[in-house]
Amino acid sequence: EDQVTQSPEALRLQEGESSSLNCSYTVSGLRGLFWYRQDPGKGPEFLFTLYSAGEEKEKERLKATLTKKESFLHITAPKPEDSATYLCAVPGAGNQFYFGTGTSLTVIP
């Protein structure tokens, strides 16, 4: 069964303290892995799409990487405004789209 698992569930970092979020997936024939950011009371905001193992993408303090079984979202020198829930998602069978439960990131000034 297609599945997406994210860890940790919650992460508290001091401002400037770099870390990584994990997204592991089990899906046949990966057709893309997507990262989104969700702020409270808002819909998810698209960050990155990765299509093949070894691919990397960067945006400001965020870098996403992909292997055959998992993806990492690296956060370098985070700022308080990076606090949010980070979601990963993969297309499944048919037109379904599977999201993980997210990692809630809090960056403390």
Binding site: G43, F46, Q96, F97, F99, G102
Partner: protein, 115 residues
């Protein structure tokens, strides 16, 4: 440009009432998705439209849930005889191309509370 909009933003319904949730996707976007998001969880897929065709409704939890997109733009998610377990945020997303391998742009969601 304008993003995805949803209305109403908040809806309180008494158990047994019918509700209709509206989604206005980004103009010209081919694909439209509906999701249900419970508190502290990730969005769960409900249904997918490509233009006016509903290609996948496998995520709809019961036959009380019905979605339509008659002209390939605005979509409505209807829930009949609401139950307490229907309380959640309902998210709509659109994508410029067909299929599910492209980024989706989400609306702010409709928070449904069934009392």
């Amino acid at each position: 440009g304008a993003g995805v909009s949803q209305s109403p933003r908040y809806k309180v319904a008494k158990r047994g009432q019918d509700v209709a949730l509206r989604c206005d996707p980004i103009s010209g976007h081919v694909s439209l998705f509906w999701y249900q998001q419970a508190l502290g969880q990730g969005p769960e897929f409900l249904t997918y439209f490509q233009n006016e065709a509903q290609l996948d409704k496998s995520g709809l939890p019961s036959d009380r849930f019905f979605a339509e997109r008659p002209e390939g733009s605005v979509s409505t998610l209807k829930i009949q005889r609401t139950q307490q377990e229907d309380s959640a945020v309902y998210l709509c997303a659109s994508s410029p191309r067909g299929g599910d391998s492209y980024e989706q742009y989400f609306g702010p969601g409709t928070r449904l509370t069934v009392t």
